[in-house]
Symmetry: C2
Subunit: 378 residues, 2 copies
Amino acid sequence: MEASKKDLTETARQVRVELGDRSYDIVIGRSVLGSLGTRFTSLFPGSRAVIITDCTVAGFHLEAAEASLRAQGIIPSVVVMEPGEKTKSYKGLIEACDGVLDTRLERGDLVVALGGGVIGDLAGFVAGIIRRGMRFIQVPTTLLAQVDSSVGGKTGINSAHGKNLIGLFNQPHLVLADTAVLDTLTPRDFRAGYAEVAKYGLINQPDFFEWLETNWQGIFDGGPEREEAIARSCQAKADVVAADEKEANQRALLNLGHTFGHALEGMAEYDSERIVHGEGVAIGMVLAHEFSAQLGLCDPAITDRVVAHLQTVGLPTHIGAIPGQLPKVDLLMDYIAQDKKVSRGALTFILTRGLGQSFVEKDVDPSVLRAFLEEKLN
Amino acid sequence: MEASKKDLTETARQVRVELGDRSYDIVIGRSVLGSLGTRFTSLFPGSRAVIITDCTVAGFHLEAAEASLRAQGIIPSVVVMEPGEKTKSYKGLIEACDGVLDTRLERGDLVVALGGGVIGDLAGFVAGIIRRGMRFIQVPTTLLAQVDSSVGGKTGINSAHGKNLIGLFNQPHLVLADTAVLDTLTPRDFRAGYAEVAKYGLINQPDFFEWLETNWQGIFDGGPEREEAIARSCQAKADVVAADEKEANQRALLNLGHTFGHALEGMAEYDSERIVHGEGVAIGMVLAHEFSAQLGLCDPAITDRVVAHLQTVGLPTHIGAIPGQLPKVDLLMDYIAQDKKVSRGALTFILTRGLGQSFVEKDVDPSVLRAFLEEKLN
């Protein structure tokens, strides 16, 4: 067993995020969590560690993470947060900061973010501001975190004003994506992460989207397609981030479906009973295609194809699929206007000209968008 | 009057902080606050502004700052905080973040920090984390902020664990140091700032310290010596920051007196009735000289000279001068151990070999320090 684990680790895929002296590797493979300790000590000899996680993830994977560090003589401290989007709040931030400060770790020591997108975003932010910057490692335990939030250095929390409005660009020093831990996800959470995988195809890789239409079952079942899809997704994200770390321009493509998605999450008050991030992205991507079609930019048949695939894997594809009351258009427009992707009044959206032909449109007329949304809400 | 103001602005001194594409100017002179608007629009045409200040400073200088911006067509939003060190807290951070988010300003807009060290540290931190980074201008209104905290990009808040433990290295885009606004300071606050001026002499410029011994009265009285002293202090800080922005090494020299000082502030619970930062630094610098003398590094006569000058300007020079109960040595050692200037157990202190001959000592034995402090507390 130990030997086969080692073999799997050694055959792990590696994707490099090229950012000069802040470059780092994403290591992807079954059971790579077991290599956390050796990778840690080889990258940061003599450093200590604090693991930030949530109680759900802790139940599944904390023991393995701790054991791997302990085997290398590192006794990690642990800060355990409540699970769920509401932890990405001022309250969660204070709790995590105080938890790390309690450990008396120093600037050269490391924060290990063990969890999904919420933990990764929070812990990456906390690492960036404790003692004006500790180092950190991402160990993403959800599909969404592995293909999206753990890569690229966007960290932060939400506020009453909207999602991710407070945070930092703060790059990790290593990302360790163990594809076996995804077996512990609920089907709903796995599907939500899959929305971000499909996104890379829809941004600018139509061949990848086609490959997903054929191979999605293997990804869900844990076949070799899973590593392939995660590595391709990470590579796509790494390429964009390396070219435009702070979203001056092309990085905005990664927000395909996100401005709509964030608004839907906001109107649902980030209540994961009603909607989780990946579901918002799925609906948002469909809306982006529909809106593009309505503007005459994109063949409506493309929207049908996108809807068909997302429905096949079980993702929601329209606003009405969100349980509870439909939002008012004013509320949605309000969230959209407060989204970071706004520049001097004009709205920036990712639109598309066809399958995998997305582009950044910085001059969307709010009244046209409002009319489109009103129609969708009726 | 308007003409003479303009002349004074035009003859303002300028110190450049060289940090590649994050370089910026410190502009120093009487009435330079009146040039805020023109400098703002020439540096950031089309951007909007939010001023973060406290109610004390607002009473004196907000009108002038707003008027200068309005004259250029910029209608600034304003966030007014409570004055005092306790604003550098989680609570203050949340209040300021929400205040800025309420304004709906965007990533390219600017935060203007109008106030002393507390406001500068808080607003610089807030600017760094709203929408993952807005730009910001420092308009320091205390001597301490003008010569120290507004320059160099250290921003942050305190926690129950200690001072400045949560924050960022975040460089401003401009520092506007109006020496006339210092006329509104209480004598105590002016003196506290002067401790940081004297510090630059004691770090590595014995000639500057000698010049201060002769010329201090002109600085306090608002003569041309004031601009000279502030410009020399800013230049000294700019040189150190340019060489070592993130305190890998020589920047630590700027902490002369600060590890002791922070511990004294901590034990007084940041109660400004008992001690303010500059007073802590004054006592801390004396302690650093005394400790150096006790270690046989420095002639005790140097300590006497430092004490004499600090006493001449009215600064406290020993722990017993702090009103209230003397701290227990355990508590001080605890704060010292939690200070950021700690590396793997050994304590880092700035010690000195003579007048203006400070150096970074990374291997101070805690037990030797404890014995020294016990003696001081008896």
